[in-house]
């Protein structure tokens, strides 16, 4: 299947330096690392010994962070659209099982036997592929909430971040304009009342301030 490329994103990407590309990968890497931290915290509080806890955490965090970086790369290249869950779920249907396979193989290596894959590798991969939908929803959720904040911080030095944030801010900007227009309308009316009687009924006033 040929994935359509977002031409505008792709054109901006072509003008970026490697440093700018790398800083766009930060959100995906950070969210991937959260997965590893969760595994580490679980292992540590669950009484696993330190080497095994570290092995479990690092071996999950690194591949998830790497996959997060690849996702961001595809996003910045315009290969994955910004926003929809579907393409992200497809991406993690591959990325999550692979990360878990690295994680399980590492834990097996440290523990000395195949404790992480009790039902065999085929069962393991299919199961993790199905659960990847869950991880994708969590990733999507955090990405949609927090990546724009990062883009906003770097928008001055990164044209693609600026493009992403601009497309998202169109709606927010519209809201701000609406509210400011309403505030201005009310201020004007109050000023009008002070200068003399004869204002319309309250609903009439609201009608006049409608966004025409």
């Amino acid at each position: 299947m040929k994935i359509p490329v977002d031409q505008k994103t792709s054109a901006i990407w072509a003008s970026l330096s490697w440093r700018q590309v790398v800083e766009l990968m930060v959100p995906g890497v950070a969210i991937g690392l959260i997965g590893g931290v969760i595994a580490g915290v679980l292992g540590a509080t669950g009484g696993l010994d330190l080497p095994l806890t570290l092995a479990a955490a690092v071996s999950l965090a690194l591949p998830l962070a790497a996959a997060g970086a690849v996702y961001e790369l595809l996003l910045t290249m315009g290969r994955i659209p910004l926003g929809p869950l579907g393409p992200m779920a497809l991406f993690w249907a591959v990325g999550f099982p692979v990360a878990r396979a690295v994680n399980a193989a590492s834990v097996n290596l440290f523990a000395g036997d195949p404790v992480a894959v009790p039902h065999g590798w085929l069962d393991f991969m299919v199961y993790n592929m199905l659960l990847s939908v869950g991880f994708a929803i969590g990733f999507w959720w955090l990405h949609q909430n927090y990546a724009p904040r990062w883009w906003y911080r770097i928008r001055g030095r990164n044209p693609l971040a600026n493009y992403f944030i601009t497309s998202q801010l169109q709606f927010i900007g519209w809201q701000a304009e609406q509210r400011e227009a309403q505030r201005k309308g009310r201020r004007d009316r109050r000023a009008g009342k002070k200068s003399g009687p004869g204002s319309a009924s309250s609903l009439g006033e609201r009608g006049e301030t409608s966004n025409s």
Binding site: S167, L203, S212
Partner: protein, 503 residues
């Protein structure tokens, strides 16, 4: 109900749905003042801006998903999960219909209920006070924390309540804080659930759970139609997704998000920023349903909220329940004693039993379980205190005489700190879930209100909205059947078995 050139204060019904409108015209809806016609804002790209479904999910994904349903599956098998699917589908429809009214008018569903008949609104006002002043939700989370850390639950719960109160007092726009905080917590919860499920579960269990969702042929399992289990089965259906009044509060969050006509209503501010509050209109507003451009924008909003409902609400709710059920099945298989404990246990006994069972499956899982219980308790409390204060403030401002001389932020704070101070007193000196003498009444009300809002919502959307944007017959039928279903099963439970506590 419809649109006319009648000026403010008319309130008389005009036949038919909405027709031509211009500036100064109004839409008559119910018995209250008509709504002025204003412009509908442009909808955002569907998936670019997440809606307040995340708050509803943060509230809704909790006790039912992590405890009630895993417990039922251990007892009756995964075939019982078709009921969960039915429950969540009904709740998804309810959510979309709540959004229809809130986005079309900028009014809360409480205001909509008052347009039908004010006593309906007062019923919800009183029910919210009776059901939601008890701090039971935070005590459950604090008990989980005590198991992990040894910190007495009364201390952590009281501190958490004060922290929540201060957060919502000092922040400029409360909704933004709520969305940020709960968005992060639920994101971590979802990712954490997926990772834990991936580490512990198995393909066979997942397959059984997924198939169980569609086993409509299984009906009510043998043994479930008893005084012991029927109320719990019905309660679990009611608690699939948001329970109690959570769906009604969703309309208030949508408004503060600026969804649809909600953009014309000022957002609720923290008390420290009350002086920045804009003038609040006396009613919501309506857009010109005869303007094709406005209808195009309306369709954009419907698409936006549908993505919100289907992906965030339906998807996340299903996901967390599936994963916790897989964990529970694994635990029950590894430790058959857990099944017996669950069969016999009360919640206070069953939670540690499930944790023990999880620990048998994997050493870390009892910790995980209590961490999630603590997390769920805290996030639920954050959302519930805001929701309660927001809903009561909305009804107080518009319908309690004399309240309009206060700012919305002041009324919100009054309710917020009222419930927090009461909660701290109760946590330390009284029954966290409410007095035993009225527990049955509270349990009855919290389920009854779900049936009630389904029926009220069907009425509001079919009476107060212009014909062109009313729900179709199928949607109305789901709402009516859902309302009858909730109330009917509750009454059957009370009449046949004498039990009103469905949790």
């Amino acid at each position: 109900m419809g649109i006319s050139e009648t000026p403010a204060g008319g309130g008389g019904a005009v036949a038919g749905g909405g027709t031509a409108v211009t500036d100064g015209r109004v839409h008559h809806a119910g018995r209250l003042a008509p709504m002025p016609i204003r412009k509908l804002p442009e909808a955002p790209e569907s998936a670019h801006i997440l809606g307040p479904a995340m708050i509803l999910v943060a509230l809704g994904v909790g006790f039912g998903e992590t405890y009630l349903w895993p417990r039922l599956v251990i007892v009756f098998g995964p075939e019982i999960r078709w009921m969960f699917l039915v429950g969540v589908v009904v709740q998804t429809v309810v959510m979309l219909e709540m959004a229809r009214y809130a986005m079309a008018t900028g009014e809360s569903i409480f205001f909509g209920a008052a347009r039908l008949a004010k006593p309906l609104m007062w019923f919800f006002f009183a029910t919210a006070i009776l059901v939601y002043i008890w701090p039971g939700h935070i005590s459950a989370g604090a008990e989980g924390l005590e198991t992990l850390t040894g910190i007495p639950w009364q201390i952590s719960a009281s501190v958490a309540l004060v922290v929540i109160g201060i957060m919502f007092t000092v922040v400029k726009v409360i909704y933004n804080l709520l969305e940020n905080l709960l968005g992060f917590l639920i994101g971590v919860l979802v990712i954490g659930s997926a990772i834990v499920g991936a580490i512990v579960g198995s393909l066979a269990d997942l397959g059984a759970v997924l198939l169980g969702l569609f086993r409509f042929d299984a009906g009510f399992p043998a043994g479930s139609l008893t005084a012991e289990w029927f109320p719990l089965v019905v309660g679990a259906m009611a608690f699939a997704g948001p329970s109690g009044m959570q769906q009604m509060w969703y309309t208030l969050w949508l408004r503060d998000k600026g969804a649809g006509m909600g953009v014309h209503i000022p957002r609720v501010r923290g008390l420290m920023h009350a002086d920045e509050e804009e003038t609040i209109p006396d009613t919501g507003s309506m857009f010109d349903v005869d303007d094709p451009e406005e209808m195009r924008k309306w369709q954009g909003w419907r698409k936006w909220v549908t993505i919100d409902a289907v992906v965030l609400f339906f998807g996340t709710t299903m996901l967390v329940t599936i994963i916790f059920t897989v964990l529970a099945m694994n635990a029950a298989r590894v430790n058959p004693e857990a099944r017996e404990a669950l069969l016999a246990g009360e919640r206070d006994v069953a939670l540690p039993a499930m944790a023990d069972a999880f620990a048998q499956a994997a050493p870390i899982l009892d910790t995980v379980f209590f961490m999630f219980i603590a997390l769920i308790g805290f996030k639920a409390s954050v959302g519930l205190f805001d929701a309660f204060a927001r809903g009561q403030a909305d009804m107080s401002y518009y319908f309690l005489p004399g309240m309009k001389k206060f700012k919305m932020a002041q009324i919100y704070s009054m309710w917020l700190w009222g419930v927090i101070v009461f909660g701290i007193l109760i946590l330390n000196f009284g029954p966290a879930d409410g007095p035993e003498a009225i527990l049955n009444v509270l349990a009855f009300l919290s389920t009854f209100v779900m049936g009630a809002y389904c029926l009220v919502l069907a009425g509001v959307n079919n009476v107060c909205l212009p014909k062109k944007i009313r729900p179709n017959m199928a949607i109305t039928a789901v709402l009516v059947l859902g309302g009858i279903g909730y109330i009917g099963m509750l009454l059957y439970s009370v009449i046949a078995f004498g039990v009103s506590d469905l949790g």
